[in-house]
């Protein structure tokens, strides 16, 4: 079965919407952070303000997972949104040992 790019279910579209929102939030934070403190990496801006996009990441991951498990939503964008949400959540919830 060919894998579609765009989601075909309602829940998949919601997951992709939140995944896109998360990406915009991360890029905006990185751009603003690097403008003020050049030379620091994305993790330096993503981790300390985890509260701001933790909710968006969790929504993208869970809605993507529900779509994948219950509604046969196997589109590429849905899976990408789910993985992005998972990675950001993992970064936020794991103990910040690097500080």
């Amino acid at each position: 079965m060919a894998t579609a790019i765009k989601p075909h279910t309602g829940i998949g579209r919601w997951a992709v919407l939140f995944g896109g929102l998360l990406l915009v939030e991360l890029l905006a934070a990185t751009a603003i952070g690097m403008a003020y403190e050049p030379g620091r990496g994305i993790a330096d801006f993503v981790l300390p303000y985890g509260h701001a996009w933790g909710a968006t990441a969790a929504v993208a991951m869970v809605l993507g997972l529900i779509g994948l498990l219950h509604y046969a939503e196997r589109s590429v964008t849905n899976i990408v949104a789910m993985i992005l949400g998972f990675l950001v959540l993992a970064m936020i919830l794991l103990p910040p040992t690097y500080y």
Binding site: H51, A58, P95
Partner: protein, 157 residues
């Protein structure tokens, strides 16, 4: 459909409650009274419930108690986990590792948000008509909105 719902008794109650919720919510931060702000949130939950029941009445949908869609079941499971995490974060002793307290508090937030989102998807997109799902969705969604709003209107508290 909205006009039909507003014409019912429940619809008028929902509208009156929504109007009261907006007034009380705006007054709370203006007089720096957090209890009034929370009361506005409780009124908003009641308004959302009355409104969704009014819509169901107009559409002549049969209400069930338990969820019938996958999103509705996920909403209930995530809500239970979010409340468990919230309870744990409130009752953790002060002496424990601050990283643990922060992680449990963050966990409440990251469970609460997808619970509200999956509830909204179940109710709005998959036409879930379970009393339990409607009640928990109204509670979680309004809770998430007021949580976010409180960060701005009670800044520094």
């Amino acid at each position: 459909m909205l006009e039909d719902a507003l014409a019912t008794g429940l619809g008028r109650v929902a509208f009156a409650l929504a109007f009261t919720a907006v007034l009380v919510t705006a007054t709370g931060p203006a007089v720096e009274n957090f209890t009034l702000f929370l009361l506005g949130g409780a009124t908003a939950v009641a308004s959302a419930l009355a409104g969704s029941l009014a819509v169901s009445q107009v559409l002549e949908q049969r209400m069930k108690v338990m969820p019938t869609t996958a999103s509705g079941i996920w909403l209930l499971c995530l809500s239970v986990a979010a409340f468990a995490s919230l309870g744990l974060s409130l009752f953790l002793p002060v002496a424990v590792d601050p990283v643990l307290i922060r992680t449990v508090t963050d966990l409440t937030l990251v469970l609460w948000a997808p619970a509200a989102a999956s509830g909204l998807v179940a109710v709005l997109y998959y036409r879930e008509r379970s009393v339990l799902v409607l009640t928990v969705t109204a509670l979680m969604t309004t809770g998430a909105f007021y949580w976010l709003l409180a960060e701005f209107v009670f800044e520094g508290h």
